[in-house]
Symmetry: C2
Subunit: 251 residues, 2 copies
């Protein structure tokens, strides 16, 4: 249970630890656990966060530390959303999925008009409404391969036309007809309505897309970093959580 730490020898020298922590040894926590926490805290302080992200967190995450949770509010044909998904979010998640969860909410700046023939109108027209609905259905029906399929669509030349080939490439056991009847029918409407409710519930209210919440919060001062250096940002956030949880003190 005590993870093997990738630390330099001096920060985890047991004799040195015993000498500087005699008062702690009297406490109920086992010596082994105390040593582990002390070692970890020193290791975290000494190593650059990103190296640690690669060597400790991303491949051997600390089970006591919850992953960084990211929710992306977007619309399927928005150019900035496509760039963010394909050049930041998906590659970052590919490499850091041990310490990061991603939830995709396709809806964005759409409007819901329940009484109309078409219950939704979208910023980039009807093709975007169709793209949003198809993606919502794919997310619902394909489970863990969903993000790969959404990435495939959003990175291709034609997002909506890519849906069927992308589904076939990554989830051949899910039939296109199940996605087709989803987006054309009641299930698709329910999924999109749920996304609309989630998007309208945002506080602060979203003013643009892509819109990102991290661990449930939108913070304007972090937005630039999130959009252009997401890998670094997630690593740093995870490290801060880890140190706080094991030592009780922020770094």
């Amino acid at each position: 249970m005590l993870q093997k730490l990738n630390t330099n020898g001096s920060s985890c020298d047991r004799q040195r630890w015993v000498k500087s922590n005699k008062r702690l040894i009297g406490l109920k926590l086992s010596t082994e656990r105390l040593f582990y926490f002390w070692c970890l805290r020193n290791a975290v302080r000494q190593k650059p966060v990103e190296k640690q992200c690669m060597e400790v967190n991303a491949t051997r995450p600390n089970q006591a530390v919850p992953p960084v949770s990211v929710i992306l509010y977007y619309e399927s044909l928005c150019p900035d959303c496509r760039v963010f998904i394909t050049q930041q979010l998906f590659p970052t998640w590919t490499m850091l999925q041990d310490i990061m969860t991603v939830t995709l909410v396709p809806y964005g700046n759409a409007k819901e008009i329940p009484s109309a023939n078409s219950p939704f109108t979208c910023q980039h027209g009807e093709p975007e409404c169709r793209g949003n609905m198809i993606e919502a259905c794919i997310i619902h029906l394909t489970g863990h391969t969903a993000f790969q399929i959404i990435y495939c669509m959003e990175s291709s030349v034609n997002v909506v036309n890519a849906a069927q080939p992308c589904l076939q490439l990554y989830a051949p056991s899910v039939s296109w007809s199940s996605v087709d009847s989803c987006w054309k029918g009641g299930l698709g409407y329910q999924l999109m309505h749920r996304n609309a409710v989630m998007t309208r519930a945002l506080r602060p209210v979203h003013t643009h897309v892509p819109w990102l919440t991290v661990n449930g919060e939108y913070e304007e001062e972090n937005e630039d970093k999130e959009m252009s250096s997401l890998f670094y940002f997630v690593c740093q956030l995870y490290k801060v959580r880890m140190v706080f949880l094991v030592t009780g003190t922020p770094i």
Copy 2:
């Protein structure tokens, strides 16, 4: 020409610089340029490399510093190659393509038997020979979208069957028939023969795949890092080059 540096104030305090470098000011280099180099060296020493990679290098690469060049020797159905391409090489390149070039050489552990009916035999059988050839043709025919297409294939459920849909998704202007006639004909053989020659020319001789050279060299002691922390590794390498080139001293 002098880039705006993202440094903290203290390392780039001009008065402090003048005080500590009076002897340099007499040299022919302009004061401005000297100040820039000094500031950069201090900035590099103070900031974690990966943060710098994100904030300085990856988005505003130094034009005087050549990108890190990576050549991957692989075979199309080798599981470790697929994992490396999809979970390390492609996402890293996606985010760091301003400071990194990737060359793909599909051939791997294949053997060339020029006199036989089938000039190549492959570790994972005939489907792999077909996959290698198709990928070589796609790389030759599609230019800058090649890596996206190879990624699409290597990440899908069936690599060889994915070739045509992946080509259509990312390079619809390149006809499948041009790829088809390439891999079945003389051009495909020439491309694969060239890959065979490149692979056989490796020094040291390759003993497994995936096999990576970085800036033309294979270094065994770096292999673990390259395979599991490629993002960090490329950033660090680029930074070392940059500092060496601007200051003349390694860090």
